[in-house]
Amino acid sequence: MTLLKVILMSLSASLGLFKLQVLRTFGRETSVVDKEVVDVILSNESNKKKLIDRLNQNNNSSVEIKIEGKEFSFVTSD
Protein backbone atom coordinates (compact mmCIF):
# COMPACT_ATOMS: atom_id res chain seq x y z
CA MET A 1 0.00 0.00 0.00
CA THR A 2 2.83 2.36 0.94
CA LEU A 3 4.69 1.36 -2.23
CA LEU A 4 1.64 2.19 -4.36
CA LYS A 5 1.32 5.53 -2.59
CA VAL A 6 4.99 6.37 -3.28
CA ILE A 7 4.61 5.36 -6.95
CA LEU A 8 1.48 7.48 -7.37
CA MET A 9 3.18 10.39 -5.62
CA SER A 10 6.17 10.16 -8.00
CA LEU A 11 3.90 10.01 -11.04
CA SER A 12 1.87 12.94 -9.79
CA ALA A 13 5.01 15.05 -9.11
CA SER A 14 6.46 14.30 -12.56
CA LEU A 15 3.23 15.03 -14.39
CA GLY A 16 2.80 18.20 -12.33
CA LEU A 17 6.25 19.38 -13.40
CA PHE A 18 5.45 18.55 -17.03
CA LYS A 19 2.13 20.41 -16.85
CA LEU A 20 3.90 23.43 -15.36
CA GLN A 21 6.42 23.46 -18.21
CA VAL A 22 3.69 23.14 -20.86
CA LEU A 23 1.69 25.97 -19.30
CA ARG A 24 4.79 28.15 -19.10
CA THR A 25 5.63 27.45 -22.75
CA PHE A 26 2.22 27.67 -24.37
CA GLY A 27 0.17 29.65 -21.83
CA ARG A 28 -0.89 33.03 -23.16
CA GLU A 29 -1.79 35.74 -20.70
CA THR A 30 -4.31 37.82 -22.62
CA SER A 31 -5.45 39.89 -19.66
CA VAL A 32 -4.00 43.26 -18.67
CA VAL A 33 -4.34 42.20 -15.02
CA ASP A 34 -1.76 40.07 -13.21
CA LYS A 35 -3.12 36.64 -12.23
CA GLU A 36 -1.79 36.93 -8.66
CA VAL A 37 -3.73 40.19 -8.17
CA VAL A 38 -6.92 38.55 -9.40
CA ASP A 39 -6.44 35.65 -6.96
CA VAL A 40 -5.36 37.66 -3.90
CA ILE A 41 -7.04 41.05 -4.23
CA LEU A 42 -9.88 41.14 -6.76
CA SER A 43 -11.36 37.80 -5.64
CA ASN A 44 -11.22 38.72 -1.96
CA GLU A 45 -13.77 41.34 -0.85
CA SER A 46 -11.85 42.63 2.18
CA ASN A 47 -8.56 42.92 0.28
CA LYS A 48 -10.34 44.64 -2.60
CA LYS A 49 -11.99 47.14 -0.23
CA LYS A 50 -8.61 47.86 1.38
CA LEU A 51 -7.12 48.67 -2.04
CA ILE A 52 -10.10 50.74 -3.21
CA ASP A 53 -10.09 52.79 0.01
CA ARG A 54 -6.43 53.48 -0.49
CA LEU A 55 -6.92 54.44 -4.14
CA ASN A 56 -9.86 56.73 -3.28
CA GLN A 57 -7.68 58.64 -0.81
CA ASN A 58 -4.61 58.49 -2.97
CA ASN A 59 -3.02 61.80 -3.90
CA ASN A 60 0.15 60.19 -5.11
CA SER A 61 0.02 58.46 -8.50
CA SER A 62 2.20 55.49 -7.48
CA VAL A 63 0.86 52.67 -5.34
CA GLU A 64 3.29 49.89 -4.59
CA ILE A 65 2.07 46.73 -2.92
CA LYS A 66 3.62 43.55 -1.58
CA ILE A 67 1.76 40.25 -1.83
CA GLU A 68 2.49 37.58 0.77
CA GLY A 69 0.39 34.45 0.59
CA LYS A 70 -3.25 35.49 0.61
CA GLU A 71 -2.61 38.94 2.05
CA PHE A 72 -1.12 42.13 0.70
CA SER A 73 0.31 45.32 2.14
CA PHE A 74 1.24 48.75 0.84
CA VAL A 75 4.90 49.54 0.47
CA THR A 76 4.79 53.26 -0.28
CA SER A 77 3.16 55.84 1.96
CA ASP A 78 1.62 59.19 1.04
Binding site: M9, A13, R28, V33, L55, Q57, E64
Partner: protein, 339 residues
Protein backbone atom coordinates in the same frame (compact mmCIF):
# COMPACT_ATOMS: atom_id res chain seq x y z
CA UNK B 1 -11.70 29.09 -63.52
CA UNK B 2 -8.13 28.48 -64.59
CA UNK B 3 -5.67 27.95 -61.79
CA UNK B 4 -2.01 28.82 -62.34
CA UNK B 5 -0.41 25.62 -61.09
CA UNK B 6 3.08 27.10 -60.82
CA UNK B 7 1.70 29.95 -58.67
CA UNK B 8 -0.04 27.40 -56.45
CA UNK B 9 3.21 25.48 -55.98
CA UNK B 10 5.08 28.71 -55.23
CA UNK B 11 2.36 29.61 -52.71
CA UNK B 12 2.63 26.20 -51.00
CA UNK B 13 6.42 26.32 -50.91
CA UNK B 14 7.17 29.90 -49.88
CA UNK B 15 4.04 31.79 -48.78
CA UNK B 16 2.15 29.12 -46.83
CA UNK B 17 4.94 28.45 -44.24
CA UNK B 18 5.15 32.22 -43.71
CA UNK B 19 1.38 32.41 -43.12
CA UNK B 20 1.58 29.54 -40.59
CA UNK B 21 4.48 31.36 -38.89
CA UNK B 22 2.44 34.59 -38.66
CA UNK B 23 -0.59 32.67 -37.31
CA UNK B 24 1.45 31.31 -34.39
CA UNK B 25 3.54 34.45 -33.86
CA UNK B 26 0.61 36.82 -33.44
CA UNK B 27 -1.10 35.14 -30.49
CA UNK B 28 -2.89 36.18 -27.33
CA UNK B 29 -3.33 39.94 -27.00
CA UNK B 30 -1.76 40.47 -30.43
CA UNK B 31 -3.78 37.88 -32.39
CA UNK B 32 -5.71 40.49 -34.39
CA UNK B 33 -2.52 41.58 -36.13
CA UNK B 34 -2.52 38.31 -38.12
CA UNK B 35 -5.64 39.23 -40.06
CA UNK B 36 -5.10 42.99 -40.23
CA UNK B 37 -4.31 44.48 -43.64
CA UNK B 38 -5.14 43.04 -47.05
CA UNK B 39 -4.17 39.68 -48.51
CA UNK B 40 -1.61 41.10 -50.96
CA UNK B 41 0.24 42.66 -48.03
CA UNK B 42 0.01 39.38 -46.07
CA UNK B 43 1.54 37.51 -49.04
CA UNK B 44 4.50 39.89 -49.23
CA UNK B 45 5.12 39.88 -45.48
CA UNK B 46 4.88 36.06 -45.35
CA UNK B 47 7.50 35.61 -48.06
CA UNK B 48 10.57 36.40 -45.90
CA UNK B 49 9.81 34.03 -42.97
CA UNK B 50 8.50 31.52 -45.57
CA UNK B 51 11.88 31.40 -47.34
CA UNK B 52 13.83 30.99 -44.07
CA UNK B 53 11.47 28.27 -42.84
CA UNK B 54 11.73 26.48 -46.20
CA UNK B 55 15.54 26.32 -45.95
CA UNK B 56 15.41 25.00 -42.33
CA UNK B 57 12.66 22.50 -43.23
CA UNK B 58 14.66 21.17 -46.18
CA UNK B 59 17.75 20.44 -44.08
CA UNK B 60 15.68 18.99 -41.22
CA UNK B 61 13.77 16.74 -43.63
CA UNK B 62 16.79 15.27 -45.43
CA UNK B 63 18.83 14.85 -42.25
CA UNK B 64 16.23 13.53 -39.82
CA UNK B 65 13.38 11.98 -41.83
CA UNK B 66 14.21 11.20 -45.45
CA UNK B 67 17.86 10.45 -44.61
CA UNK B 68 19.05 10.35 -48.25
CA UNK B 69 19.87 13.06 -50.83
CA UNK B 70 16.64 14.53 -52.15
CA UNK B 71 18.07 15.55 -55.53
CA UNK B 72 19.92 12.40 -56.60
CA UNK B 73 17.75 11.96 -59.68
CA UNK B 74 18.32 15.12 -61.72
CA UNK B 75 16.25 13.89 -64.67
CA UNK B 76 13.18 13.45 -62.47
CA UNK B 77 13.63 16.87 -60.85
CA UNK B 78 14.14 18.53 -64.22
CA UNK B 79 11.11 16.81 -65.72
CA UNK B 80 8.85 17.87 -62.80
CA UNK B 81 10.20 21.41 -62.99
CA UNK B 82 9.64 21.67 -66.78
CA UNK B 83 6.07 20.46 -66.52
CA UNK B 84 5.27 22.81 -63.65
CA UNK B 85 6.81 25.66 -65.64
CA UNK B 86 4.41 24.83 -68.49
CA UNK B 87 1.57 24.90 -65.98
CA UNK B 88 0.75 21.18 -66.29
CA UNK B 89 0.56 18.57 -63.54
CA UNK B 90 3.67 16.31 -63.64
CA UNK B 91 2.71 12.63 -64.11
CA UNK B 92 5.68 11.66 -61.93
CA UNK B 93 3.77 13.01 -58.95
CA UNK B 94 1.07 10.34 -59.33
CA UNK B 95 3.19 7.95 -57.35
CA UNK B 96 1.90 6.97 -53.95
CA UNK B 97 5.32 6.78 -52.31
CA UNK B 98 6.39 10.17 -53.66
CA UNK B 99 3.09 11.74 -52.65
CA UNK B 100 3.54 10.36 -49.11
CA UNK B 101 6.98 11.96 -48.88
CA UNK B 102 5.64 15.29 -50.23
CA UNK B 103 2.88 15.18 -47.65
CA UNK B 104 5.42 14.38 -44.90
CA UNK B 105 7.55 17.32 -46.10
CA UNK B 106 4.58 19.69 -45.85
CA UNK B 107 3.85 18.45 -42.31
CA UNK B 108 7.51 19.03 -41.35
CA UNK B 109 7.30 22.57 -42.79
CA UNK B 110 4.17 23.34 -40.76
CA UNK B 111 5.71 21.96 -37.53
CA UNK B 112 8.92 23.95 -38.08
CA UNK B 113 6.90 27.13 -38.78
CA UNK B 114 5.06 26.56 -35.50
CA UNK B 115 8.26 25.94 -33.49
CA UNK B 116 10.09 28.97 -34.94
CA UNK B 117 7.04 31.22 -34.36
CA UNK B 118 6.77 30.05 -30.74
CA UNK B 119 10.48 30.52 -30.18
CA UNK B 120 10.45 34.05 -31.69
CA UNK B 121 7.38 34.99 -29.63
CA UNK B 122 8.98 33.73 -26.39
CA UNK B 123 12.26 35.53 -27.06
CA UNK B 124 10.65 38.84 -28.12
CA UNK B 125 8.16 38.93 -25.22
CA UNK B 126 10.30 37.47 -22.40
CA UNK B 127 13.38 39.55 -23.17
CA UNK B 128 11.19 42.68 -23.67
CA UNK B 129 12.56 43.19 -27.18
CA UNK B 130 9.18 44.50 -28.35
CA UNK B 131 9.45 47.27 -25.73
CA UNK B 132 13.11 48.04 -26.35
CA UNK B 133 13.12 47.95 -30.17
CA UNK B 134 10.22 49.69 -31.89
CA UNK B 135 10.44 47.65 -35.17
CA UNK B 136 9.58 44.55 -33.13
CA UNK B 137 6.62 46.24 -31.42
CA UNK B 138 3.18 44.76 -32.02
CA UNK B 139 0.36 46.84 -33.51
CA UNK B 140 -1.89 46.62 -30.44
CA UNK B 141 -0.19 49.58 -28.74
CA UNK B 142 -3.18 49.98 -26.40
CA UNK B 143 -2.14 46.77 -24.65
CA UNK B 144 1.24 48.30 -23.79
CA UNK B 145 -0.36 51.41 -22.23
CA UNK B 146 -3.26 49.72 -20.44
CA UNK B 147 -1.14 46.90 -19.00
CA UNK B 148 1.68 49.25 -17.97
CA UNK B 149 4.22 47.55 -20.23
CA UNK B 150 4.74 50.98 -21.86
CA UNK B 151 6.80 51.96 -18.79
CA UNK B 152 9.61 49.94 -20.34
CA UNK B 153 9.56 52.08 -23.51
CA UNK B 154 12.55 54.39 -23.86
CA UNK B 155 10.23 57.44 -23.69
CA UNK B 156 8.68 56.48 -20.33
CA UNK B 157 11.68 54.89 -18.62
CA UNK B 158 12.25 56.20 -15.10
CA UNK B 159 8.57 56.78 -14.21
CA UNK B 160 8.36 53.63 -12.08
CA UNK B 161 11.85 52.08 -12.18
CA UNK B 162 12.25 48.42 -11.19
CA UNK B 163 8.49 48.05 -10.74
CA UNK B 164 6.17 45.49 -12.30
CA UNK B 165 2.63 46.66 -13.03
CA UNK B 166 0.05 44.31 -11.52
CA UNK B 167 -3.16 46.23 -12.01
CA UNK B 168 -4.25 49.46 -13.68
CA UNK B 169 -6.79 51.90 -12.34
CA UNK B 170 -8.29 54.25 -14.91
CA UNK B 171 -9.92 57.64 -14.39
CA UNK B 172 -12.06 58.00 -17.50
CA UNK B 173 -13.68 61.27 -18.52
CA UNK B 174 -16.80 60.38 -20.45
CA UNK B 175 -18.84 62.62 -22.71
CA UNK B 176 -22.50 62.21 -21.68
CA UNK B 177 -24.00 64.48 -24.34
CA UNK B 178 -26.33 67.20 -23.03
CA UNK B 179 -25.37 66.41 -19.41
CA UNK B 180 -21.77 67.40 -20.09
CA UNK B 181 -19.09 65.04 -18.78
CA UNK B 182 -18.71 62.48 -16.01
CA UNK B 183 -15.53 61.16 -14.45
CA UNK B 184 -15.48 57.45 -13.70
CA UNK B 185 -12.82 55.50 -11.85
CA UNK B 186 -12.36 51.73 -11.89
CA UNK B 187 -10.06 48.77 -12.42
CA UNK B 188 -9.25 48.25 -16.04
CA UNK B 189 -9.95 44.62 -16.83
CA UNK B 190 -10.19 44.39 -20.60
CA UNK B 191 -10.18 46.37 -23.82
CA UNK B 192 -11.12 45.71 -27.44
CA UNK B 193 -9.49 47.12 -30.54
CA UNK B 194 -10.52 47.46 -34.18
CA UNK B 195 -9.20 44.55 -36.28
CA UNK B 196 -8.16 46.68 -39.26
CA UNK B 197 -6.97 49.96 -37.71
CA UNK B 198 -5.89 48.85 -34.21
CA UNK B 199 -7.83 51.75 -32.68
CA UNK B 200 -9.50 51.34 -29.28
CA UNK B 201 -13.15 50.23 -29.49
CA UNK B 202 -14.14 49.95 -25.82
CA UNK B 203 -12.74 49.55 -22.33
CA UNK B 204 -14.19 47.40 -19.55
CA UNK B 205 -14.02 48.59 -15.93
CA UNK B 206 -14.93 46.80 -12.70
CA UNK B 207 -15.52 48.24 -9.18
CA UNK B 208 -16.48 51.54 -10.74
CA UNK B 209 -16.78 54.76 -8.75
CA UNK B 210 -18.02 58.12 -9.98
CA UNK B 211 -16.68 61.51 -8.97
CA UNK B 212 -19.20 64.06 -7.63
CA UNK B 213 -18.85 67.80 -7.23
CA UNK B 214 -18.67 67.53 -3.39
CA UNK B 215 -15.80 67.94 -1.02
CA UNK B 216 -13.78 64.84 0.00
CA UNK B 217 -14.54 62.25 1.30
CA UNK B 218 -18.03 62.59 -0.23
CA UNK B 219 -16.77 63.26 -3.72
CA UNK B 220 -16.63 59.57 -4.75
CA UNK B 221 -19.70 57.40 -5.10
CA UNK B 222 -19.88 53.69 -5.91
CA UNK B 223 -21.60 52.80 -9.17
CA UNK B 224 -23.81 49.68 -8.87
CA UNK B 225 -23.09 46.88 -11.35
CA UNK B 226 -20.30 44.47 -12.12
CA UNK B 227 -18.75 45.58 -15.40
CA UNK B 228 -18.94 48.99 -17.03
CA UNK B 229 -18.32 49.04 -20.78
CA UNK B 230 -17.32 52.45 -22.10
CA UNK B 231 -17.21 52.86 -25.89
CA UNK B 232 -14.06 54.62 -27.09
CA UNK B 233 -15.97 57.35 -28.97
CA UNK B 234 -17.43 58.57 -25.65
CA UNK B 235 -14.05 58.79 -23.93
CA UNK B 236 -12.48 62.24 -23.78
CA UNK B 237 -9.35 61.17 -21.91
CA UNK B 238 -8.00 58.43 -19.66
CA UNK B 239 -5.70 58.90 -16.68
CA UNK B 240 -3.94 55.69 -15.68
CA UNK B 241 -2.67 54.81 -12.19
CA UNK B 242 -0.53 51.71 -11.97
CA UNK B 243 -0.56 49.44 -8.93
CA UNK B 244 2.89 47.89 -8.87
CA UNK B 245 5.21 45.59 -7.01
CA UNK B 246 8.96 45.55 -6.84
CA UNK B 247 10.34 43.65 -9.84
CA UNK B 248 12.65 40.74 -9.18
CA UNK B 249 15.99 40.68 -10.94
CA UNK B 250 16.31 37.95 -13.58
CA UNK B 251 16.80 34.60 -11.89
CA UNK B 252 19.78 33.37 -13.92
CA UNK B 253 19.90 29.94 -12.27
CA UNK B 254 16.28 29.27 -13.33
CA UNK B 255 17.05 30.52 -16.85
CA UNK B 256 20.15 28.29 -17.02
CA UNK B 257 18.18 25.26 -15.84
CA UNK B 258 15.41 25.92 -18.40
CA UNK B 259 17.94 26.13 -21.25
CA UNK B 260 19.76 23.02 -19.98
CA UNK B 261 16.47 21.13 -19.75
CA UNK B 262 15.51 22.06 -23.32
CA UNK B 263 18.99 21.23 -24.67
CA UNK B 264 19.06 17.77 -23.06
CA UNK B 265 15.54 17.04 -24.31
CA UNK B 266 16.48 18.06 -27.87
CA UNK B 267 19.66 15.94 -27.64
CA UNK B 268 17.64 12.90 -26.55
CA UNK B 269 15.05 13.40 -29.31
CA UNK B 270 17.73 13.94 -31.97
CA UNK B 271 19.56 10.76 -30.80
CA UNK B 272 22.86 11.59 -32.59
CA UNK B 273 24.82 8.63 -33.99
CA UNK B 274 22.06 6.43 -32.51
CA UNK B 275 23.62 6.69 -29.03
CA UNK B 276 20.49 5.73 -27.10
CA UNK B 277 18.30 3.86 -29.56
CA UNK B 278 20.17 1.24 -31.60
CA UNK B 279 19.28 -1.35 -34.26
CA UNK B 280 15.62 -0.58 -34.40
CA UNK B 281 12.76 0.04 -36.80
CA UNK B 282 10.80 3.30 -37.35
CA UNK B 283 8.24 2.08 -34.78
CA UNK B 284 11.06 1.38 -32.31
CA UNK B 285 12.48 4.85 -32.99
CA UNK B 286 9.15 6.46 -32.07
CA UNK B 287 8.49 4.27 -28.99
CA UNK B 288 12.12 4.66 -27.87
CA UNK B 289 11.83 8.45 -27.97
CA UNK B 290 8.72 8.20 -25.80
CA UNK B 291 10.69 6.19 -23.20
CA UNK B 292 13.58 8.66 -23.36
CA UNK B 293 11.19 11.56 -22.85
CA UNK B 294 9.54 9.83 -19.90
CA UNK B 295 12.95 8.95 -18.41
CA UNK B 296 14.15 12.53 -18.66
CA UNK B 297 10.89 13.73 -17.07
CA UNK B 298 11.57 11.56 -14.00
CA UNK B 299 15.22 12.65 -13.86
CA UNK B 300 14.16 16.33 -14.12
CA UNK B 301 11.67 15.80 -11.27
CA UNK B 302 14.42 14.17 -9.21
CA UNK B 303 16.69 17.20 -9.81
CA UNK B 304 13.79 19.48 -8.91
CA UNK B 305 13.50 17.75 -5.51
CA UNK B 306 17.13 18.78 -4.84
CA UNK B 307 16.91 22.34 -6.21
CA UNK B 308 13.44 23.18 -4.87
CA UNK B 309 12.66 20.73 -2.02
CA UNK B 310 10.01 23.11 -0.63
CA UNK B 311 7.87 22.52 -3.72
CA UNK B 312 7.40 18.86 -2.80
CA UNK B 313 5.91 16.98 0.11
CA UNK B 314 7.53 13.90 1.60
CA UNK B 315 10.69 14.41 -0.48
CA UNK B 316 12.52 11.26 0.68
CA UNK B 317 9.76 8.85 -0.40
CA UNK B 318 9.30 10.81 -3.61
CA UNK B 319 12.98 10.33 -4.50
CA UNK B 320 12.70 6.56 -3.97
CA UNK B 321 9.62 6.45 -6.20
CA UNK B 322 11.36 8.45 -8.94
CA UNK B 323 14.47 6.28 -8.70
CA UNK B 324 12.24 3.21 -9.16
CA UNK B 325 10.76 4.61 -12.38
CA UNK B 326 14.17 5.73 -13.71
CA UNK B 327 15.58 2.21 -13.15
CA UNK B 328 12.58 0.61 -14.87
CA UNK B 329 13.05 2.84 -17.94
CA UNK B 330 16.80 2.16 -18.06
CA UNK B 331 16.07 -1.60 -17.97
CA UNK B 332 13.45 -1.29 -20.75
CA UNK B 333 15.81 0.71 -22.99
CA UNK B 334 18.71 -1.68 -22.28
CA UNK B 335 16.79 -4.86 -23.12
CA UNK B 336 14.91 -3.39 -26.10
CA UNK B 337 17.73 -1.49 -27.82
CA UNK B 338 20.98 -3.01 -26.60
CA UNK B 339 20.31 -6.74 -26.21
Amino acid sequence: MEIALNSLILFLLFIFPGIVFRRFYYVGEFSKQFSSGNWINTFYISLVPGLIIQIISYFTFINLIYRKPIVNNYELVNSIYSELKDNSLPKELFNFELLTWIFAYLIVTIIISFIIAQFCWLVVRNLDWDKKFSPLRFNNYWHYYLSGESLKFKDFRGILPKQKVLLTEADVLVDTGNEGTKLYKGFLRQHTICRSTGELKAIYLTDVRRYRRDLPPNNIREVPGHIMIIPAEKILNINLTYITKSEKVINYSTLFLAILNLSILLFLMFNPSKIFLRDTTIFGDIVGRFWLFLGWLFIATMLDTFFKPKNHENVKSLRYGLLFFILIIIIIIYFYFYK
